[in-house]
């Protein structure tokens, strides 16, 4: 996979195949990006399970916080990483061990070695992107901020969910 530019079909495929997301580095602070990304994804119908050893046992947006990916009770489709590029390495290895289907590293987070290990194990990988922005981009709701959505279509757009 070329991780500098992702085809729309690739990103859409991952989002379509995802029902349950583990969010590593989820914050209980309402003004942190992880918090409002989680809130947005919940509103779009995803189940999001927060992982953060510092907030273990607390609740974020109605979901119990777990200390690590291994403790999660449910099968995880996508692991969304809100940690720095270095920390994304061992988190990716854990994600492979729990049989996640895809890894998603947030904006400014990129670990090519970890991505290669995940891809070798059959996982899909997205780096330096945000699932909230990508979901909005592909569903025609991000236009207000002047973003080049990369979508061309002569079909009537669906109203945002």
């Amino acid at each position: 996979m070329n991780h500098d530019i992702y085809p729309n079909q690739y990103i859409r495929g991952i989002l379509d195949d995802t029902k349950v997301i583990a969010m590593v580095g989820a914050s209980p602070n309402w003004n942190r990006p992880s918090f409002f990304v989680m809130k947005y994804l919940q509103a779009k119908g995803f189940r999001v399970l927060p992982v953060n050893p510092g907030a273990e046992g607390q609740e974020i947006l109605g979901e119990k916080v777990y200390a690590s990916l291994r403790q999660l009770p449910d099968k995880i489709d996508l692991v969304d990483i809100f940690r720095n590029s270095e920390a994304a390495g061992p988190i990716t290895d854990e994600a492979i061990q729990i049989n996640a289907k895809a890894i998603w590293m947030q904006l400014t987070v990129r670990n090519d070695a970890a991505a290669s290990r995940a891809e070798a194990a059959g996982l899909k990988v997205v780096m330096n992107r945000c699932p909230k922005i990508e979901f909005a981009r592909l569903n025609g709701e991000i236009g207000w901020s002047g973003v080049n959505s990369g979508v061309i279509s002569a079909k009537r757009r669906k109203l945002p969910l």
Partner: protein, 429 residues
């Protein structure tokens, strides 16, 4: 649905940003003539105001018609996002507003549109911004100016107005990046149909959409386009993007929006607090204009080339500064950056100086005497007595607007008619 990076330029000019309207199915982009938008509930309103979700709040920050034009121009330039503004001047101010602080400086080419020179060197002083004007063909001088610790950006025009000067974008981008600052390119005169500065390393593109993008001389507008490629966190020069923003409860734009940071900041802080928003009606006219940009630029360039050659052989014409002519100093750069074309705005020197220049513009019947460029109509101007008269004689000369200089913006009329008009006017002086 597919990825616009796989579509051709002409397709993007017509389709980018403009899928059929989701509410009505309208195929042409509707003019959303509204100031404000209802909130679903209080929680949704709070999320919108905190930049935590997407949607329209108030047309000063964003409007669906304006958004279509933003996406259109971003796609044509190959950028990540764009901010539409009320005019090209507003776009320059808005782009620099995110990068600059009181006491900061930036480096600009000394061969620029005269209005930009005045804005940069006089009006921006009131914000505590300092502009160092340099000859961007003197690379040592550019390097020296960029090394100033307060420096935040390098600014040039891809094709300069009105001197016909072409900037060596790739070289300048290299120097800017060595100094840890972005290269900002005013691409108004070339338009993305002739030149895409991001392909040569530029980081931010500025447009006066009033000119070729809109193309019909009927709608004011400007645009800031971000490539999304500049690393704002590589040094501590850009705190607006890398430090917590108090007005948004400590949100950090670069951390939160990544390669969209400049685009979001331009709307959420720039347009919100400076207020130079584009009107939806003007956006609609520019969207319609942009659809024919590739066709128009082709014909503009062909007509200009024929007229430049005619003038070049006229006894009352001292010189013609058009990069399309053999032997022109910028011909090589035109081949590299403008696909061998040289645009439709250029200057020539008329025998007889200042007085002859005024007589010539007054003698034209078909060329309109006015201060604009990039219209379907052909335009003529004597910069020394109009657009560049705020400048000192030295500044005017440096900007390619000396006393004998005539500027043409060649339109889309029958080219033989344009030649005839110039012929009778040159005989009248």
């Amino acid at each position: 649905m597919s990825d616009n990076s796989f579509y051709g330029f002409e397709t993007l000019a017509i389709h980018a940003g403009a899928a059929p309207d989701p509410a009505t199915g309208a195929r042409s982009t509707p003019i959303y003539q509204t100031t404000s938008y209802v909130f679903d509930d209080a929680d949704a309103a709070a999320s919108l105001f905190n930049l935590q979700t997407y949607g329209y709040i108030y047309s000063r920050l964003g409007n669906p018609t304006v958004s279509v034009l933003e996406e259109r121009v971003a796609a044509l330039e190959g950028g990540r996002g764009a901010i539409a503004t009320a005019s090209g001047h507003a776009a320059q101010q808005l782009a620099l507003f995110t990068l600059m602080e009181p006491g900061a400086s930036f480096v600009a080419a000394n061969k620029l549109y005269g209005g930009s020179v005045t804005q940069f060197t006089r009006t921006f002083k009131k914000f505590g911004w300092h502009c160092d004007m340099v000859d961007v063909e003197d690379l040592a001088a550019v390097k020296l100016a960029l090394a100033k610790p307060t420096c935040k950006a390098l600014f040039c025009e891809s094709l300069a107005n009105p001197g016909g000067v072409i900037s060596d974008l790739e070289t300048l981008a290299g120097l800017a990046h060595e100094a840890g600052v972005p290269l900002i390119v005013d691409n108004t005169m070339a338009s993305p149909a002739l030149c895409r500065p991001f392909d040569f390393g530029a980081d931010i593109v500025i447009h006066s959409t009033t000119k070729f993008i809109s193309g019909h001389g009927n709608a004011m507008g400007g645009m800031v386009v971000d490539s999304g490629k500049f690393d704002w966190a590589q040094n501590d020069k850009f705190p607006s993007l890398t430090k917590p923003e108090p007005a948004y409860h400590g949100l950090v734009f670069y951390e939160t929006f990544g390669d969209l940071a400049l685009t979001v900041h331009g709307h959420a802080v720039g347009l919100r607090d400076l207020g130079p928003t584009m009107a939806p009606m003007n956006a609609f006219l520019a969207i319609t204009g942009a659809e024919t940009l590739p066709l128009r630029m082709q014909r503009h360039s062909e007509n200009a080339d024929k007229i430049a050659r005619y003038l070049d052989s006229h006894p009352n014409v001292l010189w013609v500064s058009y990069a399309g002519l053999e032997g022109n100093k910028y011909r090589r750069l035109a081949d590299k950056y403008l696909g061998g074309k040289a645009g439709s705005v250029f200057t020539f020197g008329v025998k007889g100086g200042y007085e002859a220049g005024i007589k010539l513009v007054e003698a034209c019947e078909l060329f309109s005497h006015l201060a604009n460029i990039g219209d379907t109509r052909s335009l003529i101007l004597h910069p020394a007595s109009t657009t560049h008269r705020q400048l000192t004689p030295e500044q005017a000369e440096a900007a390619g607007a000396g006393p004998d200089v005539i500027r043409l913006s060649v339109g889309l009329e029958t080219v033989e008619d344009l030649v005839r008009d110039l012929e009778q006017a040159l005989e009248a002086i």
